[in-house]
Symmetry: C2
Subunit: 236 residues, 2 copies
């Protein structure tokens, strides 16, 4: 039964890709949680661990790319199979970026350690939990091939954007009260932006899953709540 044999080999190779992507998703969610804990608790050991582990996610992405190239070269998948492979490549790329953002949050938390403590650093925790939750949900939708669950993740991104916008305003206001806070608050602004970008990448993964299911890009416009690029705050 050569046909059955070929199908099985293809499925096995596809499973190798899926397992690599799942492991990237698991690691990335863990990195987000640890990065925000490091910044909130001023825990430099945990920050160092996050920075060191980022290399694992990068290495996994390289493995996904290698597996995708092998699948395309040897199995030349078509139609639905091809979409599944291309989606795997795109999602791995998004997960690698999420890992970079988490590592950058950890790096900035090390810098904050030498600066006056800013209570707003703890506001990273709920935003971090929200984006790690989006990532967990979208990776479950990856497993179940559930476009509705993916769309639900995409809708949550507007909440993250609003929380980021509120924190951005608070940080600007706090900076205006004392120049000694400017360095710390600047790093918190960039750390918060990184978390907001993680939400965007979880949303990109959700959109890729919808494309994987339907073969069509989404035409429904995404709700956006990040108004920070146009925000102005004036000192009292």
């Amino acid at each position: 039964m050569p046909t059955r044999h070929i199908v099985t080999a293809y499925d096995e190779q596809l499973n190798v890709m899926h397992n690599l992507v799942r492991e990237m998703g698991r690691l990335a969610a863990e990195q987000i949680g640890n990065a925000v804990a490091a910044i909130a608790d001023r825990d430099t050991d945990l920050a160092a661990q996050v920075m060191e582990r980022d290399g694992r996610i990068d290495a996994l992405e390289q493995q996904v790319e290698g597996q995708v190239v092998r699948l395309l070269a040897l199995r030349h998948p078509k139609a639905n199979d091809l979409r599944v492979v291309i989606a795997g490549l795109r999602i791995a790329n998004n997960l690698e970026r999420i890992g970079d953002f988490a590592a950058n949050v950890a790096k900035r938390s090390m810098t904050l350690h030498s600066q006056p403590e800013v209570a707003l650093a703890r506001s990273m925790l709920p935003i971090g939990q929200a984006v790690a939750g989006m990532l967990g949900d979208v990776m479950r939708a990856y497993d179940t091939n559930d476009a509705d669950a993916a769309l639900a993740v995409r809708r949550k991104d507007a909440d993250v954007d609003r929380a980021y916008t509120a924190l951005f305003r608070e940080l600007l206001t706090y900076m205006m009260e004392s120049p000694a806070r400017i360095t710390a608050c600047t790093h918190l602004l960039f750390a918060a932006k990184n978390l907001e970008r993680i939400g965007d990448h979880a949303t990109n993964i959700a959109e890729t899953l919808c494309f994987r299911v339907s073969g069509q890009p989404l035409d429904e416009e995404r709700a956006k709540g990040d108004d920070t690029a146009t925000m102005t705050v004036m000192p009292d």
Copy 2:
């Protein structure tokens, strides 16, 4: 001559992809130049034009993806041909992100218009010119398939990182002198970060071209000069 006919059709389809990628590169370089001019000259009309034109780059990326899926599904390229197609997809993705960063610089320049003028805004011009130059060079390397030229672009990124780091420090210092400058300088910090990220994406394109030529990922470590995540500045 069916074989020759197939080869020709493949080359034609590949050329469609290349022309779309080239057009994305040309538009992206133009958008960078206009975005930094808008921020330096406080030109809101130019900023609005950059924001409006970003959709063209997004639409071109969708066309590249469609063409890549067609090429993979119908032509199942192998080895070198497959690398060329995968590289096209990756490069289009980088160019789309570059377009987003340029549009965000333009959007922030609109916000700056309501704020006190900050002379440091003009420091965006040389950094913008440097990253637009890197992009122009790497797109020429795309055309000539020149890995050495691509590596030369990659080496220039450290200069951009250093210029960004210097500007970051100047902006923090400037903010500390007066709370009224904090909003404007924060947007300039994020705009400068966007330009630095454009340099990273031009570097990613250079690395993808090296992979396209050799089939191997680069193992030479990239020189990094962006030290802003660990930077601290204290008020006098």
